[in-house]
């Protein structure tokens, strides 16, 4: 009996195994990697262990003692793993610009020296008397750090270790994050305003008319995002189709600024994301019994009232899940704002991409990613609160 249950259980486990493996590989593992990238900070202390031990006692004033210099020289001479050393250099340069060329000059000189005891760092590069570089070294020694997550929200630790805001002209991650949410919200609203009537119309039609409407929504999904964005570029530009047509019929004299601004981004993103709004609403409306509207009318409600009191509330679950889908996809947008937006329309993904691919600062990229994930989770929770779907009476 017991063996039978066990076999059944393991059989069931085996069936869900692909899902679990999928979740672990494509969800948990990247998430974990992102968290560790953001918080683990052992690149420098791994390569420079002696310096780590010796710099702890330094009070942050002036330049550390001769012993710290010696330890650094020893560490640099002992460092043989180029890639590990490279990671340490990248980490240090990200804290203090200039560290890269400083070490680029120091490392070969230290390695070439015949007697490590005679090496004078200041003689190799006078920048070694700059407190800034030593401070960056000291701060890079603890194995865990909050600097990435602080930088993601435009904060840092000052010399005394307390958390302060970065200067307004030095960093704008929060602003870009807010802008991302704002653009996503605008796109979601635009999609809802267009998508809801569209889905209702499609659901109320039958035969080939319905097929044509649905095809018009789904077809763009089969085209590459880049192509659709480029198409909007051609339509919206100053000498593009829309401006030419408006000028030809004499509505405007000079071209409307439709591109390289927020408007262009919202128009193109709305077009691209519309299917995610139309399809959920459409499927929900299809599930609403058709006789409900006639029932409402037979009980004295006019078409407008029947819409407000019956059809709209019942299609709300579709609208909500459509909005959620559109919003979630929209906050990750990157290509469309880059091609159609102006300077003030770049979204947070482009900043993440810069740190991830541009400078290989995966710590900050991870922290910004976590911030995005955090915001999304909060919004999703709020959505969960509101979306306890109204039940179709009697269904």
């Amino acid at each position: 009996m017991k063996a039978g249950v066990l076999r059944e259980r393991s059989g069931a486990l085996l069936l869900v195994l692909p899902v679990l493996v999928f979740m672990a590989v494509f969800f948990l593992w990247p998430l974990w990697a992102m968290v560790t990238a953001a918080f683990v900070d052992d690149a420098v202390s791994k390569v420079l262990p002696r310096t780590a031990a010796s710099i702890v006692s330094w009070n942050g004033q002036g330049v550390p003692s001769e012993a710290a210099h010696k330890a650094l020289v020893q560490d640099l001479r002992a460092a043989t793993d180029e890639q590990a050393l490279g990671e340490a250099v990248r980490r240090l340069n990200s804290a203090a610009s200039g560290f890269r060329t400083l070490l680029g000059r120091t490392i070969p000189a230290v390695k070439a020296a015949s007697d490590p005891a005679q090496v004078d760092l200041l003689a190799i590069d006078p920048r070694w008397k700059d407190t800034r570089f030593w401070m960056a070294l000291k701060e890079a020694m603890p194995p865990y750090t909050d600097r990435n997550i602080l930088a993601a929200v435009d904060m840092k630790r000052d010399a005394s270790g307390s958390i302060v805001l970065e200067a307004a002209d030095a960093s704008a991650h929060r602003l870009i994050m807010l802008r991302t949410l704002l653009v996503a919200a605008m796109v979601t609203i635009a999609c809802a305003v267009i998508g809801l009537p569209y889905a209702m119309l499609a659901a109320s039609l039958t035969g080939w008319k319905r097929s044509v409407l649905l095809l018009a929504v789904v077809l763009p999904l089969w085209t590459s995002l880049l192509v659709r964005t480029a198409a909007w570029f051609i339509l919206l530009q100053n000498e593009g189709l829309i401006n030419r047509a408006l000028q030809a019929i004499g509505l405007i004299d000079s071209p409307l600024p439709l591109i390289f601004n927020r408007l262009g981004v919202v128009i193109a993103m709305t077009h691209v994301l519309l299917p995610f709004m139309v399809l959920p609403i459409y499927s929900v409306i299809l599930g609403i019994p058709r006789n409900l509207m006639s029932a409402a009318q037979s009980m004295g409600a006019g078409p407008v009232r029947a819409f407000w009191r019956v059809l709209l509330p019942l299609s709300l679950p579709g609208l909500l899940s459509g909005s959620l889908l559109v919003f979630m996809v929209a906050i990750g947008y990157y290509i469309t704002p880059a091609l159609l937006g102006g300077a003030n329309d770049q979204m947070i993904s482009s900043v993440i991409a810069f740190y991830a691919t541009g400078t290989a600062n995966w710590g900050l990229a991870g922290a910004l990613g976590l911030m995005l994930l955090g915001v999304t989770t909060v919004l999703y929770t709020i959505y969960g609160r509101f979306s306890t779907s109204p039940q179709v009476p009697g269904a």
């Binding site: 610009s97 560290f99 704008a172 870009i176 691919t357 400078t359």
Partner: protein, 350 residues
């Protein structure tokens, strides 16, 4: 199906998947990565296809948009799926210091003396000398702009300007527009006051700037009349003049030139073939064919000397073009790109 049968099935599937993965890693053809567009089309014709024919083995080519993070991620992932990559000078300096590239065998390349000194490094050999310069459509502008000061002069030349998004190039050109002589640009930029000055100058032009990201965009912006002037890569300008009969012009004084290099990814399974390819692409007889397609300068001295005079005048390496140009300071950007990019984003968002 019994449990054992299921397990066997899962086992077989796993073996199959890993088997496919392993064989594909071993059998991968030589993969070369460059910058795409009409430049890579030219490279395909004069380097990739002839090399494939010569060795009798297929050559794959891909394009990328740069970034040391891309290289780092591929190296960290184990065996890289790229072999030969064309990189900018910063990526060469960063990747070489961090051990992301194989050391080149210079004896196969004809020795270091055969090249411009700036094109020689342990990990890379120069492929082209290219320039970022002020460009405009001569069919649209009656009067030709001469300098960065003209680029900033929206009264004399009304209309939008195109700029590559990011602090690199934008800050150098701002300083030149503000009266800094080309030779002193990096000296000024290396001080905090110099950076403030560049951003302040950029402020003036900010409402009129359209920012672009990939090298093909400025051509499109110029062609459509969206901007009256833009920064652009010189080779693409002469390329589009040739292929589409445009009359785009480049202003050489105050332009910034740099060298792109071929490198071999560390741990490449096709290391030897990669080295052979780089050697093939740097033989003067092969390299000299490039300017016929696209106006980039040649780092191989013998090849550069063999370029016909009518093509020579469009190259960044022509003496009259070099006269007022500035070499891009890779060291400055390697040190400062992260901090300045953060500041640049904050400046954009203001």
């Amino acid at each position: 199906m019994t449990l054992t049968k299921k397990l066997t099935l899962v086992g077989c599937l796993t073996a199959l998947v890993t088997g496919v993965a392993v064989t594909s890693a071993q059998a991968r053809d030589l993969t070369i990565v460059s910058w795409g567009g009409n430049y890579q089309d030219a490279q395909k014709k004069i380097y990739f296809e002839p090399f494939a024919k010569k060795t009798g083995k297929p050559v794959l080519d891909e394009s990328w948009d740069g970034g040391i993070g891309v290289i780092a991620a591929k190296i960290k992932a184990g065996v890289p799926n790229w072999d030969v990559v064309q990189v900018e000078s910063e990526e060469l300096a960063l990747g070489c210091a961090d051990g992301y590239y194989e050391k080149l065998d210079w004896s196969k390349l004809g020795g270091k003396d055969a090249y411009l000194p700036a094109a020689v490094s342990d990990c890379g050999v120069g492929a082209i000398v290219w320039t970022t310069a002020l460009s405009y459509d001569a069919n649209r502008l009656k009067e030709a702009p001469q300098s960065w000061a003209d680029f900033w002069d929206t009264k004399k030349f009304p209309g939008k300007r195109g700029f590559r998004r990011g602090p690199k190039y934008a800050l150098e050109f701002s300083l030149m527009a503000d009266g800094v002589s080309p030779a002193d640009v990096y000296k000024v930029l290396n001080t905090p006051e110099g950076i403030d000055r560049a951003f302040k100058k950029l402020d003036e032009l900010k409402p009129n700037i359209v920012w672009w990201e990939s090298g093909a965009q400025p051509l499109q912006l110029l062609a459509s009349g969206e901007v009256v002037m833009t920064t652009a890569y010189n080779g693409r300008i002469s390329g589009i003049n040739k292929t589409e009969g445009k009359n785009f012009k480049v202003v050489w004084p105050g332009s910034l030139y740099a060298i792109d290099s071929w490198v071999i990814m560390k741990g490449s399974p096709n290391k030897d073939a990669a080295m052979d390819f780089i050697a093939f692409a740097n033989v003067p007889e092969n390299q000299v064919k490039l300017p016929e397609y696209i106006a980039y300068g040649l780092p191989n001295k013998a090849a550069a000397a063999a370029v016909p005079a009518n093509l020579q005048k469009d190259l960044p390496t022509a003496p009259e073009n070099l006269a007022g140009a500035v070499p891009l300071d890779a060291d400055f950007w390697v040190d400062n790109i992260e901090e300045l990019n953060k500041r640049f984003n904050a400046w954009l968002a203001k």
